[in-house]
């Protein structure tokens, strides 16, 4: 107990940033060198280079395989990753159960879709409006509901998700049940157009994952965790819990909105059924499956949820049954998620580090 007084400082310095430094996507990983698989895995996953490796892999995918099918599901998976890390801010970091997250996805998709098809804006120019619309959506729903504690919040957000979808279904300028079609992409930069969309998506999602992970570690990220663990104690420390929850909600909304914009550009057509409750549930499932509050975990969870049905195509009609069974098995044996968040201290003064 009374060892060298700087023991803890050394411990802090040496402790790898276990639950943090990972920013990037994908499960691809270099071969572990050490024999003990768990040890090697844990060391690998706590490496700050893993995020960079995965990001490079994601960006290099078109060089590895550029078939239309691969690019298509790759783009879908990346958009899903963005949704999952966005919801992770709300559910994982701040502990607010949001069952209507697809609402922000829809707001983003429709904001960019309407402006680009009806007003002829270039896709990239709709970004500020998408962000503003998501923030406004977050303010409108979060304002009254974030005063509630989680169960009630879940019910109200569930209702809000449906309201957005039904509104889109009944308005003229959103195209009603037919939705919007002929949505432009970001330009093809002299490439095959689906590859161009893929690269734009990959770049945006890489940055989004990095930002969400970093937000989770800074002052505001800590405040989110304080609120999640004990709201009263957080208040007693001078943390305005309502504002902090609002910040998480708005941040999540912006991630969802931008993901919606990418989705609109990728699909070129959107309609209300694309934003039903199943989406909200699947995104939440990705967060829970991966490990709430753990950015690398959530990325893995999102890739699993979006890619498993594709990998199971060989099973034909059975694939959704197998998918469901797999999810049940994983949650029974790893209720904390595939790669749960672990309490840890980041190394100090990692200046010039990548993550």
């Amino acid at each position: 107990m009374n060892d060298d007084s700087s023991a803890y400082v050394r411990a802090v310095e040496e402790r790898a940033p276990a639950n943090v430094a990972l920013a990037g996507k994908g499960v691809g990983s270099p071969k572990p060198r050490r024999a003990g698989l768990p040890v090697a895995l844990s060391g690998l996953l706590s490496s700050k280079w893993l995020g960079l490796v995965v990001a490079v892999l994601a960006l290099a995918l078109p060089y590895l395989n550029s078939s239309t099918y691969i690019i298509q599901i790759g783009t879908d998976a990346l958009i899903f990753v963005m949704l999952a890390v966005g919801l992770n801010i709300v559910v994982g970091f701040c502990g607010l159960l949001d069952l209507g997250y697809a609402a922000f996805f829809a707001i983003g998709a429709y904001a960019s879709g309407v402006l680009s098809t009806k007003c002829g804006w270039p896709m990239i120019a709709t970004l500020p409006v998408v962000v503003a619309a998501s923030v406004a959506g977050g303010l409108i729903i979060g304002g009254p509901t974030l005063r509630l504690r989680s169960d009630y919040l879940a019910i109200v957000t569930l209702g809000f998700g449906e309201i957005i979808r039904i509104t889109a279904n009944n308005l003229d300028f959103t195209g009603g049940p037919n939705g919007l079609y002929g949505i432009p992409d970001f330009g093809d930069f002299g490439l095959r157009s689906d590859v161009a969309v893929y690269w734009v998506t990959a770049a945006v999602v890489c940055v989004a994952v990095l930002f969400s992970s970093r937000l989770g570690r800074g002052r505001i990220g800590r405040a989110w965790r304080f609120v999640r663990d004990d709201e009263d104690a957080a208040e007693a420390m001078g943390i305005h819990t309502y504002k902090v929850k609002f910040a998480a909600y708005i941040a999540g909304a912006v991630f969802g909105g931008v993901a919606g914009m990418l989705f609109a550009a990728h699909q070129t057509a959107i309609s209300p059924p694309s934003f039903n409750f199943l989406w909200s549930a699947l995104i939440l499932m990705a967060v829970v499956l991966g490990g709430m509050g753990s950015t690398p975990g959530v990325v893995i969870g999102a890739l699993a949820i979006s890619l498993l049905p594709e990998l199971l195509r060989g099973a034909q009609n059975w694939r959704y049954l197998i998918f469901g069974l797999l999810l049940i098995v994983i949650m029974v044996f790893r209720p904390q998620g595939l790669l749960p968040a672990r309490a840890g201290e980041p190394k100090r003064r990692r200046r010039g580090g990548v993550a």
Binding site: R15, R219, R222, D230, A233, A236, R349
Partner: protein, 280 residues
């Protein structure tokens, strides 16, 4: 006597007809150590909760450092310089010891969304400062265990210490401790006594609710006694020890067993700490 820091006037709060705090008036001076004692259910914790904003007083006023804080939000009151601990530990169980202490510094860490996302120099500066200060407070309270560990895995006594470190990290002018000695063994109580004195030396006013009379008599400069939500006595430990109203409130009059208890308390309280003596 130094200036009045906290002034509570006719404060009352009731829950469905039960008047937990019933017209309570007391004040805390800058830098003093004040104990609030009273039988179970006397309204001590309710009074704390009213002062810190967790309950809204139904009547009366609370003034802190010249500003009216009656019924304000707990976060606002905490930010104005009142830190507290809870009767049952309220730590952030999933987080590390250091993160728990950093919670107290939240309002002083200068860093925004962009700093966090872009890892600006300001981000690293503020994080390093916060970490250094967290270590400083943990040193101050004598927390010797692994500070990178999840707090829920620590022994109870260490968790108590971390909770006090967290409250101190709030850089308060007044610290409210709700039964800090509960569940501590003899040696830990002695260390708590020493810690309370060192906190007072920092110029922070300390208000504690405590049932351990030995500790209360040794550390307090003044004692306020509550019963049924009202103040029944206010004075130095020596005055309180012999106050018949206090003995009656605690033990009920004319009760053999109770008088034995009263004598035991008095005996325990006798070896008053040297500091208490010099202060008065």
């Amino acid at each position: 006597m130094s200036a009045v820091l906290l002034d509570v006037k006719d404060m009352a709060v009731s829950f469905g007809g039960v008047r937990a705090v019933d017209g309570l008036t007391f004040s805390v001076h800058e830098g003093e150590v004040l104990s609030v004692i009273g039988p179970n259910g006397a309204g001590k914790t309710s009074a704390f909760n009213c002062v810190t904003g967790f309950y809204k007083p139904t009547a009366g006023s609370v003034t802190f450092a010249g500003a009216d804080i009656t019924g304000k939000r707990p976060a606002v009151i905490a930010a104005s310089g009142i830190a507290r601990t809870f009767q049952n530990l309220r730590l952030f169980g999933d987080l590390t010891v250091l993160d728990n202490v950093r919670a107290g510094m939240h309002v002083r860490i200068r860093q925004n969304f962009l700093d966090a996302m872009l890892h600006t120099p300001r981000y690293w500066r503020s994080e390093d400062t916060a970490t250094d200060e967290a270590h400083k407070w943990l040193d101050f309270v004598g927390m010797e265990y692994d500070r990178t560990a999840q707090i829920r895995n620590l022994p109870y006594g260490e968790q108590r210490r971390v909770e006090i470190a967290r409250a101190l990290a709030r850089a308060p002018r007044m610290l409210l401790l709700d039964e800090p000695a509960a569940g501590l063994n003899h040696g830990e109580k002695a260390r708590l006594l020493d810690l309370l004195r060192r906190i007072a030396d920092l110029g922070i006013a300390v208000v504690l609710i405590e049932h351990d009379m030995g500790l209360v008599m040794k550390v307090s400069e003044r004692i306020v006694v509550l019963s049924y939500g009202k103040e029944i006595a206010d004075g130095t430990p020596t005055e309180i020890r012999t106050n018949p109203a206090v003995i009656e409130a605690y033990l009920g009059a004319e009760d053999e067993e109770a008088h034995a208890e009263a004598e035991r308390i008095a005996a325990e309280a006798k070896p008053a700490g040297p500091r208490t003596e010099t202060r008065q």
